[in-house]
């Protein structure tokens, strides 16, 4: 009976050849590629081993992978408790060197096998056959083996069957590899997505941190305490990623005089921020030289026109000086440069716009003229300054609050005026709008407490809000 691949000669004869170091290295790479070594038992391979044992009626069958220095059993039928053996004495270590299925009908007569531990040991193997598991690119990963304690002969069909079983094992390995690769690709994709998300998150918070830090340099960190006066403010940019163009400040002029301003530069973003910064410090410096509000705004107009970096940008502002009134409260002198009027809240719902005639845009035209106007802020009265983000906020019907709406809102307030309450209620008004303000909003309120409340007045109220109250501003209709 012909025995295909039956090798009786020593290693190096046509049946058993040696692999070169390069061939062996490539083979090991192939083994690693399938990532099969030391994986837990797997039904598919166990079935192949069981099927081999049943088909050939042998007590032992196994599926082995040949590692660098060991033979590892992926599946072993009839071999309890053996997971790997050394490569040197292993029969399948020789089998993977064979070109075809290796069959040793009687190990006692085989020059290599007769000395093998499986043969001389307690298992006393007399028959051994192994089909190499050969990859598509020709590497032998291991073998499908059958072993018996009696010598036997097998037919050519039998060896073909054994080779088929080895091919099934390879198919299974290929399937696992494809699944593993798909899983890896998916994991890599997920990791990349996660990294991209984290990067975007970091970028976003960096920009927000930058914007809010820059914003803080454009606004006073906290309002000062002005004796006899209650102060409150609110600031919200339309977007946390952008620096707003609104600004305000309150600062001492020496003696018992104080100055305050609030305004809006044209546009937003870094360029507007640069103009805001220039405006804020120019106003402070000019006020210390000559606090007359008319003169201060004229100085700012000149400074903006002379600064080539400002370009065609301009700003609008309200600038005021307050000093204690001879009787009670404060005398406030206000100049306006193209800005909406401040509102003098007289208490009990009385509201008056403070709008000196002829205050033009600041930084737009040489020779712009300004005018100032004085009022007496008595106990129980207040002054509200705001930027047009407030009056241009839109109601559910799409109507802007407008000057009329704001006047009505302020006139509905009865009783003595408190700066903190005015700011709080105005912020509530904006928050009640379907899209918030939709633009930057700065609010500054001053009030003189009534005599009995003044005693308990300890500090100012501030309400800095840098994050937007609503969502991103929508295009104006």
């Amino acid at each position: 009976m012909p025995q295909a691949g039956h090798a009786t000669g020593p290693a190096g004869t046509p049946g058993r050849r040696t692999l070169s170091a390069a061939e062996e290295a490539a083979r090991i790479d192939a083994v690693r590629r399938y990532d099969i070594l030391d994986t837990p038992p797997d039904g598919a391979f166990d079935r192949v081993a069981a099927m081999a044992a049943r088909l050939f009626k042998v007590p032992v069958a196994s599926v082995t992978i040949v590692d660098e220095d060991r033979i590892w059993f992926k599946a072993a039928h009839g071999l309890e408790g053996v997971s790997e053996i050394g490569r040197e004495p292993g029969l399948c270590g020789s089998a993977i060197l064979a070109d075809e299925t290796l069959v040793i009908p009687d190990t006692f007569t085989d020059p290599v096998a007769f000395n093998n531990g499986l043969v001389t040991g307690p298992m006393a193997v007399r028959f051994y056959a192994a089909a190499p598991i050969i990859t598509g690119d020709g590497h032998r990963l291991g073998t499908v083996n059958i072993l018996d304690t009696k010598p036997r002969l097998i037919t050519e069909d039998d060896t073909a069957t054994l080779a088929d079983l080895a091919a099934i094992v390879l198919d299974e390995l290929e399937m696992r590899l494809a699944a593993l690769n798909a899983l890896r690709t998916e994991q890599e994709r997920r990791i990349e997505q996660e990294e991209a998300r984290q990067r975007a998150e970091r970028d976003k918070s960096a920009i927000e941190a930058f914007a809010s830090t820059l914003q803080r340099t454009l606004l006073p960190p906290a309002l000062p305490v002005v004796p006899g006066l209650e102060l409150a403010c609110h600031y919200a940019t339309a977007s946390p990623q952008n620096v707003g163009g609104d600004f305000y400040d309150v600062f001492p002029l020496g003696g018992k005089r104080w100055a305050f301003f609030l305004g809006d530069v044209c546009g937003k973003g870094p360029e507007a921020a640069a103009l805001t910064s220039l405006t804020r410090y120019t106003l402070r410096a000019a006020a210390l030289i000559d606090p007359d509000p008319d003169v201060v705004l004229t100085s700012l107009n000149t400074a903006l026109l002379l600064d080539p970096a400002v370009g065609t940008r301009f700003c609008t502002a309200v600038f005021g000086v307050l000093e204690p009134h001879e009787d009670e409260g404060f005398t406030i002198t206000v100049a306006t440069g193209g800005h909406p009027p401040a509102y003098h809240l007289r208490g009990q719902g009385a509201v008056e716009a403070v709008q000196p005639k002829g205050g033009m845009l600041i930084g737009a035209l040489a020779g712009a003229h300004f005018a100032s106007h004085s009022i007496h802020l008595a106990p129980g009265e207040g002054l509200l300054l705001y930027t047009d983000g407030l009056t241009e906020a839109r109601t559910l019907g799409g109507e802007m609050i407008g000057d009329e709406g704001l006047t009505r809102f302020l006139a509905a307030r009865t009783g003595p005026v408190s700066a903190a309450t005015v700011i709080g209620d105005t912020v509530d008004l904006i928050d009640a709008m379907p899209h918030g303000a939709g633009d930057d909003v700065a609010l500054l309120a001053l009030s003189v407490p009534l005599a009995d409340a003044a005693a308990s007045l300890t500090a100012t109220a501030t309400a800095h809000t840098i994050a937007p109250a609503g969502e991103t501003p929508e295009r104006r209709p």
Binding site: C266, G267, F314, G338, H339, G358, L361
Partner: protein
């Protein structure tokens, strides 16, 4: 891109009348500026802008008007507005621009006012 249109209607010698329609905002203001400056460069240093069909004007629109005014003045010309919508008129008043930008109820009034002498419109 918001809706905006500038139509030059009346271009006699150093005078140009242009109708402006749509919204004047950050998107359209540069176009208003460019097109108006082009008219001035073509020699129409006295410019009348008919704003009857302007539906919205924000600070960018103001910026453009100020820029056109500056350019007209540097060319010894004038900028005159006609048919200014109410809200825009209030804003012009608020910003003090009404003292620099003479306004007429209609484009026809502006043309008549210009006719006797180019300088009367700036008075």
């Amino acid at each position: 891109m918001t809706d905006f249109r500038l139509t030059a209607q009346h271009t006699d010698g150093d005078l140009a009348l242009a109708q402006v329609a749509g919204e004047l905002d950050i998107d359209t203001a540069p176009h208003l500026r460019t097109q108006a400056l082009a008219l001035i460069e073509q020699g129409h240093r006295h410019l009348i802008l008919d704003l009857a069909a302007v539906t919205f004007c924000d600070s960018s629109g103001f910026n453009a008007l100020v820029g056109i005014l500056r350019c007209a003045k540097s060319a010894d010309g004038t900028l005159v507005l006609a048919a200014v919508p109410d809200r825009l008129a209030r804003l012009l008043n608020l910003t003090g621009l009404d003292t620099l930008l003479p306004a007429h109820p209609t484009a026809a009034h502006a043309l008549v006012a210009h006719t006797p002498s180019p300088d009367t419109a700036t008075a």
